[in-house]
């Protein structure tokens, strides 16, 4: 079995062939799907632990603190200890809560994250689902999460939760538009909704550089709307700690709370991964025109590392936002979307179509 860090398709193909030799096609599909599912479960666990740790450390340094330092060297085991604590905690439920909805709400949220992460291309050939409508799929699936938030807020039988859920509903429905439109701005240039093709089209340069100013504007809009989509940073109205105690997940504890927590960080990863794929070339290395030597050095770095670096950068940006800005009010949040982001986006997409039509992009 041949294995290369630069191209995972050899690995995945060999697994597929190996399985096909010994099982019928139906069994092959079932086994492969469970393997992918297990891989994503592992990915989510790792993501949750590392991102929570990263957030705590980043916020600590920004605030001139040290962050977790006690459990393990540099507090590295702190989040693992937290996970153990959350798993062992008693899942409490409000006596007058709607038991069924209260129980399934966290699962809806986490399932939405799982569905969305399936379309993320991690490296060449490391891609669970490569639809021809990848972008459409992701934006459709990621908005399922809001149903979970609404259910959680409604079923908790808590007024704070309900207000938080209603806020979240209004917020995600609005910002879904901006996320979609800013992604479409790049689709105008790439001519495809398929992630692998979008990445291939960036082999000679990332869209954020090739697409002139409209691409940059689209990127900024995507960052803002993406932050709002994940209920983070200055847009965390749904859980606004100082107003609504914890918003929609006030009544949750133990493992169910851990699901909300994990989904928040997983969504952050997904939004950053899609932003990196569409605007920053996914796993494509940085290439500058004809500089053959420079390009060769960049090619030496494996694609999965490139992808990781880009996602890390975007995640850091989102953390930086969160730990700097005050929170918006609900009417200001909607004003920002409908009066600023959406008109800018629409003009921007026209501009981009014009540039694409004239062939002015690189």
């Amino acid at each position: 079995m041949e294995f290369s860090i630069y191209d995972f398709s050899t690995l995945t193909n060999s697994i597929h062939e190996g399985l096909s030799n010994s099982f019928s096609p139906t069994w092959v599909m079932i086994i492969e799907m469970s393997l992918v599912g297990l891989a994503f479960l592992g990915l989510f666990a790792v993501l949750g632990v590392t991102l929570v740790y990263a957030e705590r450390k980043v916020s600590a340094v920004i605030q001139q603190r040290m962050g977790p330092m006690r459990v393990g060297k540099w507090g590295l085991l702190q989040t693992i200890a937290d996970v153990i604590k959350l798993v062992l905690k008693e899942p409490l439920m409000n006596r007058q809560a709607d038991k069924l909805l209260f129980g399934i709400a966290p699962f809806i949220i986490i399932i939405a994250s799982f569905l969305a992460v399936a379309a993320v291309p991690f490296a060449k050939g490391l891609h669970a689902l490569d639809f021809d409508i990848g972008i459409l799929y992701v934006s459709a699936v990621s908005s399922i999460g809001v149903i979970g938030i609404l259910l959680a807020g409604w079923s908790s039988n808590n007024k704070y939760s309900l207000i938080g859920a209603m806020r979240s509903g209004a917020q995600i429905v609005s910002y879904e538009l901006s996320v979609g439109l800013s992604l479409l701005t790049i689709v105008v240039l790439s001519g495809s909704l398929q992630f692998s093709e979008i990445i291939e089209s960036q082999a000679n340069g990332w869209w954020i550089f090739k697409g002139h100013i409209p691409a940059f504007i689209a990127f900024v809009v995507f960052l803002i709307a993406g932050t709002a989509e994940t209920n983070r940073g200055p847009f965390d109205l749904a859980e606004a700690e100082s107003e609504l105690t914890a918003g929609f997940h006030t009544e949750y504890s133990g493992i169910k709370f851990a699901f909300f927590f994990l989904a928040e960080f997983a969504n952050m990863f997904i939004i950053c991964a899609i932003g990196a794929t569409v605007f920053l070339g996914g796993w494509m290395p940085l290439h500058i025109g004809d500089l053959a030597g420079f390009n060769a050095i960049m090619d030496f770095i494996p694609p999965i590392v490139w992808f990781g670096m880009k996602v890390t950068f975007l995640i850091f940006l989102m953390m930086w936002f969160r730990w700097t800005f005050p929170r918006l009010r609900i009417d200001q949040l909607l004003k920002l979307e409908w009066k600023y982001l959406l008109p800018i986006n629409l003009v921007n997409i026209l501009l981009m179509a014009f540039i694409g039509l004239m062939g002015w992009h690189f």
């Binding site: 916020s59 920004i62 605030q63 001139q64 603190r65 007024k159 704070y160 207000i163 200055p234 965390d236 109205l237 606004a240 700690e241 100082s242 107003e243 609504l244 105690t245 730990w323 700097t324 800005f325 005050p326 929170r327 918006l328 009010r329 609900i330 009417d331 200001q332």
Partner: protein, 376 residues
Amino acid sequence: METLDHSEEITALESQEYFINMGPQHPSTHGVLRLVLTLDGEIIRKVEPHLGFIHRSIEKMCEKDAYTQIVHLTDRMDYLSCHMNNEAVCLAVEQGLEVEIPDRVKVIRTLISELTRISSHTLWWGVMGMDLGAITTFLYGFRDREMITDIFEETCGARLTMNYNVPGGLMDDIHPNFQNRVKAFLEHFKKKLPEYDKLLSNNVIFQERTKGIGILSKEDAISYGVTGPAGRASGFSCDVRKKHPYSAYDQVDFKEILDETGDCYARYKVRIQEMWESMNIIEQLIDNIPEGDFKAPTKAVIKLPKGEYYQRVETARGEFGVYIISDGKKSPYRLKFRSPGFSNLSALDHMARGSKIADMVAIMSTLDLVIPDIDR
């Protein structure tokens, strides 16, 4: 929780008002204050503060204590301006004893008052940011406050409940390091205070959240008795340091910060400006502490002559008054505190009506309530 009346059929466009309990345990009430909000969606129709969760009957306790013992109880009322509270009691007692207070005491009391004011305002700034969702400001505010509490710890022996005043003077002389530390703090804080503006005051989200929110007119401020920075932001000139100078405030040159707008942003701005003004006062006094005793001689058991005594001071929150009725014994017959927080809270309902829950948090934090000050 209010049960809804289902007897009438609710038509599609009719909206119902509902109640929400903000507190006693809520992250933004900064203590055990319970606010019963009547809401229509997110719009506040009525705010009803319920007090008394940490009532410790300090006024009653004062009636059995000697005058020296009263002072330390006032630390525990408005703990963020503890020195000013102590000073008010001591000034009232000194007024009755008719003792001549050494100049050194007056200057040191003024210096520590202004340091306390800065420390209270830095804490308020941090908490204000946190209430509006910018958690980082909280730690920056505490960082700068830490230097002041260190100064207090070195000179007074405690960080928060200092009890540095005694009737007739001070408990101890200032520590030899005091002047150097204060100068080091001023140098540090002059660099950090512009950062407050960069991080919060000029931030577009912050301005959107505070401008035009919770407007209190000058007339309303006077009729509700809203004093301190909250009153001055409405144009109500009420600075006791200017109107009725006590301690060394008649020796220093400073401005009374006034604003006309009366919204949350005006209250915010007034407090930021007051920090600069306090630094100005400290700078004028820090090198001019006169030599002398740190305490005027008083009898071991203080007995006030029969009569009534009132003394007001300007704390970080507003006008704090001490009213003593003495019947000539060693403890007061009755003692009443006029706390600024109580009057400021009374205007909350007027200011918050018609705004949203998120605005409510901003209004609360610009009033800068300290709950033990309200309940006593």
